[in-house]
Symmetry: C2
Subunit: 262 residues, 2 copies
Amino acid sequence: MDRRQFNATLMMGSLAGLLAPTVNAQQTAAGTGPAKPVIGMLIYSDMILLDLVGPLTAFNILQTDVRLIAQTPEPVSTDVGLTVTPTATFDRASSALDVLFVPGGLRGTIEAMKDQATIDFLKSAGNQAHYVTSVCTGSLLLGAAGLLKGYNATSHWYVRDLLPLMGATTLKERVVEDRNRITAGGVTAGIDFGLTLAAKLRGEDAAKRIQLLLEYDPRPPFAAGTPDQAGAALTEDIRHRRGALIREAEQAARAAGGRLGI
Amino acid sequence: MDRRQFNATLMMGSLAGLLAPTVNAQQTAAGTGPAKPVIGMLIYSDMILLDLVGPLTAFNILQTDVRLIAQTPEPVSTDVGLTVTPTATFDRASSALDVLFVPGGLRGTIEAMKDQATIDFLKSAGNQAHYVTSVCTGSLLLGAAGLLKGYNATSHWYVRDLLPLMGATTLKERVVEDRNRITAGGVTAGIDFGLTLAAKLRGEDAAKRIQLLLEYDPRPPFAAGTPDQAGAALTEDIRHRRGALIREAEQAARAAGGRLGI
């Protein structure tokens, strides 16, 4: 990073640009900078915003080229009432992604599993991307597009058992890596995933720098982050309250599995 | 929660509404529901979106009345390029908040520390709220409004030593509680903070339910989330790169301390 870039970073004042200079010093000296990984993040209605913002914050510090990709350019609703405006649409975005990323949000995921344009985009982008990734129920969408057939994967705990309906093997781990597929558990697993992928894209030092900037030394005030920790009563209560949606997700997964010949 | 509300929750499909019925069954049966805590979250330019979205996700599941409060109703920029549209403005929002919350984002925080309208709002809202809270550099703003004078507090590691300039005592803990002040460390500490506050507002069971829904069983892939863990080289490099901004923050904190007679 030369002096001018360094000052620009300070002026910008966000967390972006706080990574060490990368190996490609020659390109940087020439003023062009190293090539930025292109990360395509699927955006869809009723997604969980935290599923997106955890990894997005890491990718932003990593100085990647992030594209928020949706079917149309209209702002998309999220669980917390904030909207996200896409920066790219399906018809222009499927090629040349280094990373395809899919966030979760159960009702939104189910609707998207039934949407042929979304499935077609994921198939096309996923077959070309270097990494095919998800957080939370996003893996159901990857599965519905046939991208997890024959792979180990995970999802939010209340739907991860549906993955085998689409040809995947479920692992009860927070972040599951299998060749170029990286899937993560529910919502907050996106931060662990973001750091894991950052290390793959730019090395462990870059990932550690992001972790320090985000002061990611978690101290959950309770031990209730998994069904095992939370206990049967709480877990079954949530399963019951989400029952109708989980059954809808199962139907969508079975239908997708049928189309995939599973 | 009666059957109609339960179905409405299922239809809505977001994570909100998945809390157990609260104690006020009589009000619920009458169809009015228990009073929702009113949470006012300050929104300002160049804030870190994850500072907001971590706690916001918890508060949303908790079924609170969240108000995103800014000086004007225009959309506000964040570190990751997404904008947040306020739902309330300073002139209408300072009274009747159960919780005042301030997110961080260093450059934005510094600008806001120098903005009299922001400081006036924080003073007024903070003196009336039941809880006065922050994540990351947000505590510098609380400090500049005189709300941390005589309190223990924390902030992002690279500026927490500035809090005594505004009359606070810095503790190197992830979430610091002192009477009705709750301040948290950098960025990701917002999730620990959100669960801590959820337990205060609605009890431990409600907080554990949120933790399970968000599958918050963190597994950082590296040990680099604090200066001690990351080591001196990485820590000093970040301090150096943020040096100009940290010095600006120090000047703003000294000026605020002077106005507070410290």
